[in-house]
Symmetry: C2
């Protein structure tokens, strides 16, 4: 007998992400910003005219696109906005990756690239990072259907310089090269200037990390107007009103408050550098992170030991247990200075316990 169950889409069963909301937890597992968003965000919310919510939003999210354009000194027509950088990246994949040839991205990188490729039936190849977990530019010089590079990369935290990125772009003039800069504001160098020189480069950024707005789902892409127009054509062909009215106003306010943004990024970088020193003293190995997280493993104690012991103390970090090459690493988001001091104290405590048992 036929059943509607025969027509269900086949997907990997859902494993819910860990989003604990405990009052006294230290949440270092999803690279959120430990500081609240700009005070301008509160002002927007307080002054928001709720009666406007009865109307559909501006399809073009003009206010937000304009704020991004002004911040980065580009035209509004060079900015595409979406529901978090996930939405922006998914639409970029749909728009630009329609070749028979595989798109290329690193084997260790943001875990959604292969998800979207599968979703849109885009052939892809994962290119292994080298022995020191870096992107090898020359591995991307062969024929392909497109290139995606997270810079800095996640979860390694390693940033590439512009000359290396530009070499990849030069060798890939006939496909679109997406640079995913979700973590760029914590120390890397943005490839934004390369969008002036190359018409095939798309920069993707997010307000979830450096603008403390993970809860509002706002991301954007910058590139030459022809690229952005193509993305808008695809988006509007199936979705008229992607952004909420509040997202547009809140996002614009956060982008305009550059001083607050610079100040919180500076504080996070300071705390990250302090944390690196402490972790080094305790025998951790890690890559030189340019992000708001540190990807580290201890020289002798397995990652799972720290992960579980920290959890018992309501300190949440991230582990990638199903990826052999990085299974002993912890990805530790940078919290406030106080949170990281508490974290280091607990790590010391765990090491003492592991030592006394060993």
């Amino acid at each position: 007998m036929n059943s509607w169950r025969d027509n269900l889409r086949k997907v990997e069963p859902y494993v819910p992400g860990e989003q604990p909301e405990l009052s006294d937890m230290i949440k270092l597992n999803t690279n959120e910003n430990p500081y609240p968003p700009s005070p301008e965000v509160r002002r927007v919310i307080q002054n928001f005219d709720d009666s406007m919510l009865r109307l559909y939003p501006d399809p073009n999210s003009t206010e937000l696109a304009k704020a991004v354009a002004e911040c980065y000194d580009v035209k509004s027509g060079q900015v595409f906005v979406g529901v978090g950088s996930d939405d922006v990246l998914a639409i970029a994949f749909m728009t630009f990756f329609n070749s028979e040839k595989p798109i290329l991205f690193p084997d260790i990188t943001y875990s959604f690239y292969d998800v979207w490729a599968e979703l849109f039936q885009i052939p892809y190849e994962k290119v292994p990072l080298n022995d020191v977990f870096e992107v090898e530019g020359k591995d991307y010089y062969g024929e392909n259907g497109g290139v995606v590079i997270a810079n800095p990369n996640a979860p390694t935290g390693i940033a590439q310089g512009l000359p290396a990125l530009e070499e990849i772009i030069k060798h890939n003039q006939d496909v679109v090269v997406i640079i995913d800069e979700a973590y760029i504001d914590f120390g890397g160098t943005s490839a934004l200037e390369l969008t002036e020189k190359y018409d095939n480069v798309l920069i993707v950024q997010t307000l979830s990390k450096s603008r403390s707005l993970a809860g509002m789902r706002i991301g954007y892409a910058i590139g030459q107007e022809e690229l952005i127009r193509a993305m808008n054509d695809v988006r509007f062909s199936f979705n008229s009103y992607p952004m909420t009215r509040l997202s547009v106003s809140i996002g614009a306010a956060a982008i305009r408050d550059r001083a607050y943004f610079e100040e919180t990024c500076r504080k996070i970088i300071e705390t990250r550098e302090w944390t690196k020193k402490e972790l080094a003293k305790l025998g951790f190995h890690f890559w030189d992170s340019c992000t708001n997280f540190i990807f580290a493993r201890h020289k002798t104690i397995p990652g799972i030991v720290f992960f579980e012991a920290l959890r018992k103390q309501k300190i949440f970090v991230r582990r990638f247990g199903n990826q052999k090459r990085i299974e002993d690493y912890l990805r530790i988001s940078i919290g406030t200075q106080e949170e990281m001091e508490r974290f280091i104290k607990e790590v010391k405590h765990i090491m003492e316990q592991a030592g006394s048992q060993g």
Copy 2:
């Protein structure tokens, strides 16, 4: 020479929807609610803790799903929430319509059904409405890959009774039947009770119309838990955090304020009935709308004449000029009583002018 342009996705070029924001306009073109959302929405916004925006939202939008479940007396596990009913419908299409056989929906109905079918490469057949613009149940009894019925239908505004709908469902036990109830709260009978009896029925509703929240992009689906689980599996396979934190809280508040919702629906229905009488007196033909709009054509004067003359007076209605069968109709959203009085006055004026010229 190869170009990245060769790999662009081919889509119909984007024609921006008309979303004028003039201070003194009367906007009757996108079926928005003329009344502001519940005062509870304002309270949520005023009391919202903006510092929470630094954190990702609850992936399951639990607060909102629970409010919907309580309102409709179902379990939370029977509720799927999304970014407007467009998002909910798109994910339902992806989840349930993976057959070689075509899905069926009316030829005149919500214009995004064929868009999503094309997007997800779902074969589809448009089934003509009968001579009086109604869905003919028996046209849906043949083999198919799924059925989508908007009830009340748009842009006709005509509602079907439950017995007719149930016949369609009975004849389609081996596929999923989606009932799109975007306009149900303005006078139709919801098929919600049929979800108890049939495990293959999915009801889709929205907060954009009857809850005055078009600007927040909130929709939901209700069905048996197995259907909802399947939709969540698909959603979470490629998108972890669909809803903003503010959407979840605002949506829940609006759903919980049942008294306000009933009051605004009642007012809109009253104004609609008044408008129908006036239009009839003026020689308009229209279907018996159960929605917050009236789909009407004048017996002698073409729709385009009204459309353009109203526009000059900053009164915006909707026309479907590219669909032959309905090109002379106007879809007139129901505004406040004052707005509809002004609308009727302008219509009379236009008819006088047309008469004097004729």
